[in-house]
């Protein structure tokens, strides 16, 4: 166990190094330039472009830029080119904004998918199963932004209440319950939209897992010895069907930093995804690279966590 942890940490550090090199290269080799040094930007004269290049170390060879960048990042001194703000501070702020969306979205996904999927599995081939299959595929294939617009237009024109942003603007000094409920209302639409895709996929997954487990010998045995049907399903079948989802739980972690570019932009939610997206448009290298680096760390940490979790829940597995 300990040796596994040690080995995997070393492996992950090596992977991380390669990720950092590759992402750095991709961004610097991609077409387009930071808006401050873009020769097409009429606001900046050639001399200023030159000075910005110097200030951003863009006049140095790539490997020196790489060293400068990661030195700054690891000492927490990286600043955004756009507004000279500390990158880590910016990311932390955005992370706190994305967090509630992520939490509510995850709760909705995981609480809804299981009952839907299990029911489909129990009544497989029936009307309920077929219609849930139909809606799942519908939700998977409809683009999120389209769905978002329809929902927004419907809610605003029908109920005349604001839905954009994190809170109602100009609410003024109301009681704190109003404020909290207002915030929850604003969370509702974006997190439902963020969850729809997840629910559709996860409920399918639950269904197939349940079906697979149900055909196992021990389920048949349980039925044969006269255990009540409910107990067979929820105790014998469900528990074993849950195993693969434990690994999935570890993989949610990177979603924390990724946020959702489209949903956050449409709802003007000041989250991580939107910040990263805007940084890419402005070629704000420090932000792009830092977000990239942190998500790489989270992906690796996520796989590590799911490996360990798997060992914990499934005593058959030894690494």
């Amino acid at each position: 166990m300990l040796s596994f942890i040690g080995r995997s940490i070393i492996q992950k550090i090596i992977t991380l190094f390669f990720v950092s090199v590759v992402s750095f290269l991709i961004i610097h080799l991609a077409p387009g330039k930071p808006s401050q040094v873009d020769p097409l930007n009429p606001k900046f004269t050639p001399e200023m472009v030159e000075r910005f290049r110097k200030e951003f170390h863009l006049d140095k060879p790539l490997y020196i830029q790489y060293i400068y960048f990661y030195r700054d990042l690891l000492t927490g001194k990286t600043v955004s080119w756009k507004d000279n703000q500390s990158v880590l501070k910016k990311i932390w702020e955005r992370f706190l904004n994305s967090l509630p969306l992520f939490i509510v979205g995850t709760i909705l996904t995981w609480t809804l998918s299981f009952p839907i999927g299990i029911r489909s599995a129990i009544f497989r081939g029936g009307l309920y199963d077929r219609s849930s299959t139909f809606f799942s595929y519908l939700l998977i294939s409809i683009p999120g932004f389209f769905f978002a617009y329809i929902l927004i237009i419907f809610v605003v024109t029908r109920f005349h209440v604001p839905v954009i942003g994190m809170e109602t603007f100009g609410l003024g000094a109301s009681s704190w319950t109003h404020m909290v409920m207002d915030r929850i209302w604003h969370l509702l639409l974006p997190s439902v939209l963020g969850a729809t895709g997840g629910i559709a996929i996860l409920s399918r997954y639950v269904r197939s897992q349940m079906l697979e487990v149900e055909s196992q010998d021990y389920v048949r045995t349980a039925r044969a010895k006269g255990v009540p049907e409910e107990q067979v399903l929820y105790k014998h079948a469900l528990r074993n069907a849950l195993l693969p989802f434990v690994t999935m739980f570890g993989l949610i972690l990177p979603g924390l930093i990724g946020g959702s570019v489209i949903i956050e932009s449409i709802f003007s939610w000041p989250g991580m995804g939107r910040m990263a997206y805007e940084a890419i448009l402005a070629r704000d290298y420090p932000i792009i690279l830092t977000v990239n680096f942190i998500s790489a760390v989270l992906v690796l940490a996520g796989t590590f966590v799911s490996d360990v979790l798997y060992m914990v829940v499934d005593p058959r597995i030894r690494l």
Partner: protein
């Protein structure tokens, strides 16, 4: 079974909890009725976030919007787009002109003359002792004082790269033995002064002055370099326009500090300081010096005649006491940065700006909102709104939805929505012309566009009115020339080219292009053929591309089209003038300075006159316009220039778009009349279409007001 119950009831509970929050959220009506504070707030939205809240550093529109609320300039433009005083109460423009005494030149009737004799001669001419025409007399009458600046010697050092490949600069020491110089103080700026004086002093008096004779250089320099130095250090004549601003007394910054002349001087120096990397350096390059004469007087001396420079003083003024070297050094030490490298650009001021504008900065949440509070000590009286909120909503459709929900007070309408929203009883709509125009430009260096008749015919073959009607949904107006349509500079006497394909064919026939059997236009067996290009990603231009192609094909021109990615389009085609015809747009300033786009000296690669328009008459007018300080004369020159460009048709001028904004109808103008009664008025746009002009007097009412029809 508990597991089953948990699985079913948890999601139901979660969803129920989320949905019930709906009952706590105020609807559109409740927002203005149930919450009196909401009426004191103005909420507006923008697609992009601000980047830096400092008027000398910002370069994007969101930052500029906020800066214009927080900071105030010396002047701005009034309802008629003329300048009006803000932090400056009034200003005065005069000139000091200089010329070196040319002792080698023969003055008619006098011969070779020294400084004293020249002065005497000018004084005699001024008194009317010499024959002169009216123009010369006017120039002379304008002279207030004449001084001699005695000859002097001084040393100039320059850093020069000996060869292109040299890494190190060599120091060049230049000993200057400046001859006597004459200083003329003029009561108003006179761009024709030296031209008129040369009628008295002799035609070559100024042009034959050779500064090289007075330079001693310690190193070998090429002839060209020497001449360059001579022209720079000892120019034969020099115009120094001078603007004196009288500042408003007792104007306060938001922190209570009193504004004075040093703040103006400091703002200028901050812009010019290379450490700050200000994008506005070019605007202030013609300034020679800014002097704070006394706390309420600023004297600005310019290096040369350049009238558009006055408009740059609408720039917001920075508080010197918060950004001077000392405070910056303290800040650098506090945050642990190198004080040598620390500039205004790094200062936290840019996120917590302090100016003397009508609104005080309060809070900035990146990508969410910026809030400002009304400034109670604003010199013109506090604004009616207590708070101004600038939300960042990157998506246009959601902006619209927020407007319907009542959480934004204004919305910039899309052309196809104008019809619907302008007639909505809940809203009031405003509409006006924007500052830019769209055109088709022809590369005049190439055949067949070197022929004026062809360019005219191409313009006649396009039905611009239909483009405006169907592509722009009626939200545009025709334009005939390069000036901003709502200014006086625009010559309304010029009629747009009528749609006349028959006439176009006739003109082309005159130019030698005849239809062949297949219907294509031909000359000497060669088809009339060219490629029309534009950038991809702009749907309007793409539509025009197709329409123009179709219209020209109908009269037998073989037009190919191409859409190019923006960077390729600009770098490979426009900058290198490698195109036949293109569709592009210009965003114009109000100033009538057309030098960069239309002057013949700007036709080289990477310059903006990429169509290669050359016209000596137009060149002359362009120079005259940028040197003229008298508004009436400037307008007259502009009308002439407009006529020439409209006649020559280097572009087919298409249209200028209209913007439309809708406001909640509950927003009105609130004024207090002389008796102290509160009067409410409807918001009316100014003649030039600016509806936010009286923004500081706006307020929102709880109910839609009804106004008696005005008689």
């Amino acid at each position: 079974m508990t597991i089953r119950k948990i699985l079913i009831f948890t999601p139901i509970l979660v969803i129920f909890f989320l949905l019930q929050s709906y009952f706590w959220v105020p609807t559109y009506e409740q927002q203005s009725r149930g919450n009196p504070n909401r009426l004191n707030e103005y909420i507006t939205a923008s697609i992009g976030d601000a980047s830096i809240l400092n008027p000398i550093l910002s370069a994007d529109s969101a930052s500029s919007n906020i800066n214009s609320m927080v900071f105030e300039g010396l002047i701005d433009r009034d309802e008629e787009l003329r300048f009006r005083g803000r932090l400056a109460r009034y200003w005065d423009i005069h000139e000091e002109a200089f010329f070196y005494v040319n002792e080698k030149a023969n003055i008619p009737g006098v011969g070779k003359a020294g400084a004293k004799k020249v002065v005497e001669l000018l004084k005699r001419a001024k008194a009317g002792d010499l024959p002169a025409n009216d123009e010369v007399r006017a120039s002379l009458a304008n002279i207030e004082e004449i001084f001699i600046i005695p000859a002097r010697e001084f040393l100039v050092t320059r850093h020069e790269k000996k060869t292109e490949t040299d890494q190190e600069d060599t120091e060049v020491k230049i000993k200057v033995m400046a001859p006597n110089r004459i200083n003329l103080v003029l009561s108003s700026v006179d761009q024709d002064l030296f031209q008129n004086l040369s009628l008295i002093l002799g035609k070559d008096y100024f042009s034959s002055f050779n500064g090289e004779n007075y330079l001693g250089v310690d190193q070998e320099l090429g002839q060209k370099k020497r001449a360059e130095y001579a022209k720079e250090i000892l120019p034969s004549t020099e115009h120094n326009p001078i603007v004196v601003f009288k500042l408003r007394p007792n104007v306060k910054f938001h922190d209570g500090h009193i504004f004075d002349a040093n703040d103006v001087k400091f703002t200028f120096e901050a812009i010019m300081n290379p450490k700050n990397l200000s994008p506005r350096v070019a605007d202030y390059e013609p300034v020679k010096e800014v002097q704070a004469v006394d706390p309420l007087t600023v004297r600005i001396v310019y290096k040369r005649l350049y009238s558009p420079a006055l408009g740059t003083w609408s720039m917001g003024i920075l508080p010197e006491h918060l950004l001077n070297d000392e405070t910056l050094r303290d800040e650098a030490n506090r945050v642990g940065k190198d004080p040598e490298k620390f500039s205004i650009r790094q200062s936290s001021f840019n996120r917590h700006p302090i100016g003397c504008g009508p609104f005080v900065f309060r809070e900035w949440k990146s990508d969410q909102y910026i809030t400002l509070n009304g400034f109670d000590d604003y010199w013109e009286g506090p604004p009616n709104y207590k708070r101004y909120i600038y939300r960042i909503i990157p998506d246009l459709l959601t902006q619209e939805m927020e407007f319907y929900a009542g959480t934004i007070d204004s919305y910039g309408v899309q052309p196809h929505q104008v019809q619907r929203l302008q007639n909505d009883p809940k809203y009031q709509g405003f509409s006006g012309l924007s500052l830019g125009y769209t055109y088709i430009g022809y590369n005049m260096r190439r055949e067949p566009f070197d022929d004026h008749r062809v360019r005219m015919a191409l313009s006649m073959a396009i039905d611009v009115d239909k483009i405006i009607k169907y592509v722009l949904h009626g939200q545009g107006e025709r334009i005939t020339g390069p000036f901003v349509k709502q200014t006086d500079y625009y010559n309304h006497g010029i009629k747009p080219v009528p749609y006349d394909p028959e006439g176009a064919l006739k003109l082309l026939e005159e130019a030698g292009w005849k239809r062949n059997k297949e219907g294509w236009l031909e000359r000497d067996g060669k088809r009339l053929q060219f490629t029309l290009i534009t950038n991809s990603g702009n749907d309007l231009r793409k539509a025009i591309l197709t329409i123009a192609q179709g219209a020209w094909k109908q009269i037998g021109i073989d037009v190919r089209t191409d859409l190019l990615e923006w960077a390729v389009f600009i770098q490979e085609r426009v900058d290198k003038a490698d195109f036949d015809a293109l569709i592009l747009g210009w965003l114009m300033g109000i100033e009538p300075d057309l030098y960069q786009i239309w002057h013949s000296s700007q036709t080289n690669p990477y310059q903006l006159n990429f169509v290669g328009f050359r016209n000596p008459q137009a060149d002359d007018l362009i120079i005259k316009i940028r040197r003229e300080y008298n508004y009436g004369r400037q307008v007259a020159y502009s009308h002439q220039l407009h006529e020439i460009i409209a006649r020559e048709k280097p572009y087919t001028f298409l249209y200028v778009t209209k913007w439309t904004a809708v406001l909640d109808k509950k927003i009105v103008i609130k004024e207090t009349d002389s008796k102290g009664n509160v009067v409410y008025k409807k918001i009316k746009p100014t003649k030039t279409g600016i509806y936010t002009f009286h923004f500081n007097k706006w307020i929102k009412l709880p109910e839609v007001p009804s106004f008696a029809p005005e008689g």
